[in-house]
Symmetry: none
Subunit: 156 residues, 2 copies
DNA sequence: CCTTAGGGATAGGGTTGC
DNA sequence: TGCAACCCTATCCCTAAG
C-alpha cells in the first residue's frame, strides 16, 4: 500500500519557495528542519520537496550548470579489469593492506558477479581481510574514481 | 497524430485480470514484465493497463488505491533461485547477519523441500544461526516481496 | 547510517473519437 | 451522447552516488 496522492497546497508551495530562497537549491533537509518552515511542511519529506521543486522548475532542475554526467564507477572498473594482468605473486603478507589496485582487483575477482558490485560490498569483503584505516571506504572510492578517470593502467 | 484506438480483446482483458490477481492493484509494470502476461499484453503499456482497469472498475478505481497482493512469494523465490550464482565465499563470519539475499538462498537451499517453504520455517532456520533484529520476520518478508516484484537481480 | 539527484512508475483529471 | 481508449503530469518510488 503506497502513500495516497497528496496534492500540494498553496501554503506548502509558498513555504518551499521561501525555503529555497533562504537556503539555496538542494538543501531540502535544511529547509525541513528550519522552524520557520517545519510547520507548513510537516507532512512532506526532503525527497518530496525535491520532487515538487522539480515540477515547479519546469522540469529542468537537476541538470546542473557543469552538465555533469554521473558515472557508474564500478561498471567502469569492471570493464577495465579485462585488461588487468595479475602480478606474479611472491610475498604473501596477510596483515598489511596491499596497494589499492590489488585490493580492488581481488575484490572484484572474488565477488564474482556479472553485474558488478558496489563500494559497500567491496569494503565488506576487504575490511576483515586487511587492517585498513577508518576512512577506508572514502579512500577506496577515491581510488576507484581516479582509476577510471585516468585510464587505469593496471600495473600493480 | 494520436495512437489509433485499439479495442481490448478478451485475451488481453483476461491477462490483465490475472495479472492484478497475482500482483495486486497498481503494479502495472510488474504485470507487463511478467513472462506469464508479457505476450498477450505485448502492445499495451503500463498506463494502458491502468486506464483499462479503471474502465473495468466502473470508474471508482483509485479511491482506496493499491489493493493486496496474492503472490505465493516462496514459490516465486524458488523459481528465481534457478538463476542464482552463489558468490565465491571468502570471509566466513558467523555472528553478523549476511545480506538478506544470501540468507534467503541459504535457507531455501538447506530446507530442501520440493514444495518450497514458508516464512515461518525460514525464520526458524535463520534465527539461531545469525543474530538478527527483532523485526527480522517482517524485514525478511519485505525482502522476498521486493525480490519478486523487481525481477530479483541476485546481486549479493 | 543519511541525503540528494535523477530516472521511472502510478494516480487521477482531462481529452478524443466512435 | 456515453463511454472506451488515450493523453497529461503532479506525485510518489527506487536506487546510485556521495
Amino acid at each position: 500500500m503506497a502513500k495516497p496522492k497528496q496534492k500540494w497546497t498553496p501554503e506548502e508551495e509558498e513555504a518551499l519557495s521561501a525555503g529555497v530562497e533562504k537556503y539555496g537549491l538542494g538543501r531540502w533537509k535544511n529547509i525541513l528542519t528550519d522552524p520557520q518552515f517545519a510547520s507548513p511542511l510537516a507532512n512532506r519529506s526532503n525527497v518530496d520537496l525535491k520532487d515538487k521543486w522539480r515540477n515547479l522548475s519546469g522540469g529542468d532542475y537537476g541538470s546542473n550548470s557543469r552538465g555533469n554526467v554521473r558515472i557508474n564507477w564500478f561498471e567502469e572498473i569492471n570493464k577495465l579489469l579485462l585488461t588487468y594482468q595479475e602480478p606474479s605473486k611472491s610475498s604473501v603478507n596477510k596483515r598489511r593492506a596491499p596497494p589499492y589496485k590489488a585490493m580492488i582487483y581481488e575484490a572484484l575477482s572474488s565477488i564474482d558477479d556479472p553485474k558488478g558490485t558496489d563500494a559497500k560490498t567491496m569494503v565488506k569483503f576487504l575490511e576483515p581481510k586487511y587492517d585498513v584505516t577508518k576512512n577506508f571506504r572514502k579512500l577506496l572510492t577515491a581510488k576507484l574514481r581516479n582509476l577510471v578517470l585516468n585510464g587505469a593502467e593496471w600495473r600493480p
